[in-house]
Amino acid sequence: MRKYQLIAFCLAGLLACLQFGCSSESQAESFELPEIISYNFDIRPILSDKCFKCHGPDGNTIEAGLRLDLPDSAYAPLKETKGAFAIVPGKPDESELLRRISSQDPDYQMPTPESHLGSLTPYQIELFRKWIHQGAKYEKHWAFVLPQKAPLPVFKTKEGLNNEIDYFIRARLKEKRLEPNPTADKERLLKRLAFDLTGLPPSEELMNSFLADDDPDAYTKIVDKLLDLPQYGEKMALHWLDLARYADSYGYQDDNIRTQWAWRDWLIHSFNSNMPYDQFVTWQLAGDMLPDATKEQVLATAFFRNHKYTEEGGVIPEEYRVEYVIDKTKTYGKAILGLTIECAQCHDHKYDPISQKDYFSIYAFFNNTKELGFEGDILVSKPAKKPVLTISDDDIRNMMQFINKKDSGNIMVSVMGERDTLRKTYLLNRGAYDQPGEEVSPVGLQSVMKYDTLSLPKNRIGLANWTVSKQNPLTARVFVNQLWQEFFGRGLVKTSGDFGMQGELPSHPELLDWLAVDFMENGWNIKRLVKQIVTSSTYQQSAKISKKSLELDPENIFLSHAPRNRLKAEWVRDMVLASSGLLVKDIGGPSVKPYQPDGLWETATSGRGELATYKQDTGKALYRRGMYTFIKLTVPPPSMMLFDASNRDQCEVKRLQTNTPLQALAMLNDPMILEASRVFAQRLLESDTNAQTNIQNAFHRIVCRKATKKELAILLKYYDEQLALFQSKKLAAIETLTVGEYKHNPDLDSNLQAALMKTIHLIYNMEESIVKT
């Protein structure tokens, strides 16, 4: 809805354009081609976008027998045009491809008008001309080539170069004639760091000690301190929960409760204990198949069981069993390999060298579990589906103390488990469960990395080893990129879920590769990588946006300043609870049901099952971190959804970041925020009645810096006005304070408290409060 305010501007722009003319001809001569045309970076994106649909890897839809993704085919005589060649290396004028893409004749031009792919721009056509002129050399897709450490760019001075990240970032900035920002002020830097490492604002104590510490290592000390907090694991887990499509219900139809939360506890624990990423992936992929697998290793595999399960009476079990294997395959591809292999479920991939057979070869790894397609409807619903891991109190005492169990009784978790006899896998025609084709066996994607069946067993253990092999060009790159995205809001590869040919090219290919190799060389050490990122000077820059950088790099791809990203949905909640002192810092355990607008579950339910009505929790459970809010898949928590949280329906590697009026309404009227404002005011007044001190303190806790004089003046004036209104009974203080279940303090002056509460609420609504800046 934000677009409307801007339409007036657009129309102004439109008129201006009509006046001055914006024809393409007037500018046609002014583009500059790169000196050397790169197949990977210049040509393939165009081929992939405009040509591969009919002349690409999909064996079923090749038109005129021509494939443009393979040089042999592209250079060969054309089958349907006698005496012509699509591409003649070195001779653009003899290349049929160039003639076709530059033609205006609808019967001759490519892409054809019917394809709706749109014709190539003059610039793109010239790229092709020069590329062919230079020999039309093909290259393997960049992401399928093993990453290597490039030599560091050379600079005259080492100033501002904290580590290798800065070398690569600065080199690109220089190319773009941009300069990096100076380091951010300490207050803002600490806020940014605290949210990035713990998802919470820095504590009062941390803010004071950091500000007072003049040691040049003060920042590094804080980094280490934050990395050691248990909230680090919670922060890191959130992104992985999106990937894992974690939820607390089954997702279809009646949508009953499930209990996968013990896996979430494991996830937090594994980040906190800094489990190496290769092991982290191996356990989740195949923990159940490791020699003498422990219950913890089996628990890790719940990652692959978090997807939806139907309990709808009357389904055909095999249809859904297949659906579940498909989900696992898709999640594996997108989350871990960064590939959209699901595109090859129904046909050969249109853009990437992944055939339908390749797809079902990956699928085959997940096709041998003991899982059933249907275990019965809601009447017989259980909190986990077979195979189930049962965790007893003894298990927790003896080896899984990280599980935060609330009551007695065993915990049930859906996990992976192999059948004794091998279930055969068939390629499914059009991806349909009842259309089996040829038999396939489990094997990794050969175009990514050879799957050596002599050393790798044909099961999930083999797949895990193949995935975390240092010879796999994708795994480290994909994870490093996801982590980068966590800190900068945008990956070095913007399409973090698609490293294939239709994905975006990396903005800093050498840096991505350097980080990926370094990550593997150093034992896939996640905390080390995090520390590398946050101690770089690139990360520590101020977020101020100069006119020059706005002009030259409005999307801040080259990082001439730190990004200003809004907090994730869960952290908006966490920030409010933590600053007001309401936050209950328990780690893990079953999900909780805080305040939620009335009737949401009730209007959407069939009326069956445990989750037909929303039974709000009370007491401590109202004040847990956002990541523990109960997720009923068919009606996900509204305050989270408004701030772009994943709906957990499918594996998601990147959240959108929007700015909508519905968010403004939530900040204004969510009872959680009103209650926090009240309790915050109450706490401040219990120790001091000086309005200015209290407002300064509140501001400091919420915005994580001292208020400026001007800000303080605005807030004080607002406070005074509110107080006068309450004292003159023009506004009702008691009614204002009537929100939330947290206990009131009857000894306080209600007028003072209400005025302070409203001032605090105003601070919570400030843009900067929910932004890393």
């Binding site: 201006a16 610039y123 009335d598 959407a604 605005i714 607002y718 506004l731």
Partner: protein, 484 residues
């Protein structure tokens, strides 16, 4: 209109860039070249797509979709099959069933006894359409309706079938129909969302609804359906706390703006400006939404038309009336869901209740739109996610039976917005297979988009390397039901 939408889209894609230019104070000439998709520099696919909209003159501007969730039985309502009464209790011949896959609920049944409808039918209107005695009000508007008796789908269970109807795919997080329309056409009212969702429940056997039905999928979240209710808090978090007055809220927002201006001065981030604007929009919505949802000022004649239930918030009747009001205020797509049609057993009693709740308000909506001169440009759709079997599920008695899910044929109706009234498509005497003019769900979507002025093959969005569309890779426009 076309230019506006293209601009709007370009704007959205490059919002930060655009906002940044504004804050730099670059004049409108530079803005112009920035905004107009420029052939030379290569425009994005989406810009090129939206720039061409509408692809042709639209017949309808808005849609109200009355989704009958759970699948109403076509055999009780529109698809009159006297032969089924004659063959009461006889087994469905295999020559008719032809290997149709069955749901797990009847897969174990050894017999498929045919069950004729308990209800009587008569013919109405110029098209002499057969309409059941359960739908007297609908019969009264027969001349407005195009009754399509030959709909078919691929799914046989509720969740995938419903998801298919709403998003064009049985599984996955694809954008809903309403989201596609919002994406393609935007909203007509700057204070209301383009896509609104209303829920209600009947007393019959119900199947839940789920927010993925109105998801924006991979489209921007501004295209997500916003759930409205006809109660006191029509939109989530819309209402201020009871202690807050309008003047009070205004004053607070003024202070907030002053504070945010400080941040804007310091950081120069155009997003801060956008945030200020969003708070203003929120404030306007707080006035606009209650005005739209307030039915207290509706005249007695309108209340009478929809029936007394329309005064009870959350009922189907109240939602039909609210749908008209939203539509009247420029909401592009109003999606209703009414639960309770899943008649596996006790079908006659349940469907009677469902019809009693829905027949009058559905017909009232058509009449109301017509009397306001809005029917011509408002497309109204009524229907469920699949049909029901001609044979009985569970015990068959003289006055009771149930029907299982049936994907091969079912009935929906459409009215207004460029639709040619009449009856389209036929089924065999068993009411089991289509004999003429089949309409697949993809065809239905293609036709709806066409009526809105969009070519379903061209309204695409590129996501993870693929151009997606509502109709996936299929869909044929049903030209015979469109007014010349």
């Amino acid at each position: 209109m076309m230019a506006k939408q293209a601009l709007e889209y370009r704007l959205r894609m490059n919002r930060r860039r655009f906002l940044s230019r504004l804050s730099l104070g670059i004049g409108s000439a530079a803005l112009g070249s920035l905004l107009i998709p420029d052939l030379f520099s290569g425009k994005s696919n989406e810009e090129a797509i939206l720039e061409q909209l509408p692809h042709f003159a639209p017949k309808a501007k808005r849609i109200i979709y009355l989704f009958q969730n759970g699948a109403p039985s076509q055999l009780e309502l529109f698809d009159y099959k006297p032969m089924l009464r004659e063959k009461f209790g006889q087994d469905l011949p295999e020559s008719i069933r032809m290997g149709q896959r069955l749901t797990g609920m009847t897969a174990e049944q050894t017999k498929f006894p045919l069950a004729g409808s308990l209800f009587n039918f008569a013919q109405y209107g110029e098209s002499k359409a057969w309409i059941s005695e359960l739908l007297p009000y609908t019969a009264g508007i027969a001349d407005e309706l195009c009754i399509i008796k030959s709909m078919y789908t691929e799914a046989i269970n509720h969740d995938p079938a419903l998801t298919f109807f709403q998003t064009g795919a049985q599984v996955g997080n694809r954008p809903s129909m309403g989201s596609w329309l919002s994406y393609g056409l935007g909203s007509e009212n700057k204070n209301l969302p383009a896509f609104c969702v209303l829920l209600s429940k009947g007393k019959g056997n119900g199947q839940g609804v789920y927010s993925k039905l109105w998801t924006n999928g991979f489209l921007d979240s501004v295209h997500q359906g916003v759930q409205f209710s006809s109660g006191e808090n029509p939109v989530l978090y819309l209402n201020d706390h009871a202690s807050v007055t309008r003047a009070d809220r205004r004053h607070m927002l003024d202070q907030l703006e002053a504070l945010n201006e400080e941040g804007l001065r310091e950081f120069g981030d155009p997003e801060i400006n956008a945030k200020i604007q969003q708070y203003e929009m929120a404030y306007r919505m707080q006035t606009a939404v209650p005005e739209v949802t307030d039915i207290s000022k509706e005249p007695e004649s309108v209340i009478k038309l929809y029936g007394p239930e329309c005064l009870v918030p959350g009922t189907y009747a109240a939602n039909c009336l609210l749908a008209r009001k939203l539509s009247e205020n420029g909401v592009r797509f109003v999606q209703l869901y009414h639960q309770g049609w899943d008649g596996h057993g006790n079908l006659p009693a349940e469907i009677k209740g469902q019809c009693a709740d829905t027949d009058q308000p559905s017909a009232a909506l058509i009449k109301d739109l017509k009397q306001r001169g809005m029917l011509d440009e408002t497309l109204v759709i009524w229907g469920g996610e699949f049909g029901r079997t001609n044979y009985c599920q569970g015990p068959l008695t003289k006055d009771n039976y149930g029907r299982d899910h049936h994907p091969r044929c079912f009935t929906i109706w459409m009215a207004g917005g460029g639709i040619k009234p009449g009856v389209y498509g036929e089924t065999d005497d068993f009411g089991y297979n289509i004999t003429s003019n089949p309409v697949h769900v993809h065809d239905f979507h293609a036709t709806v988009l066409h009526l809105m002025g969009m070519d379903h093959e061209q309204l695409t969005f590129k996501h993870l390397g693929r151009r997606y569309r509502l109709t996936d890779v299929a869909g044929k426009i049903v030209n015979d039901i469109i007014k010349a």
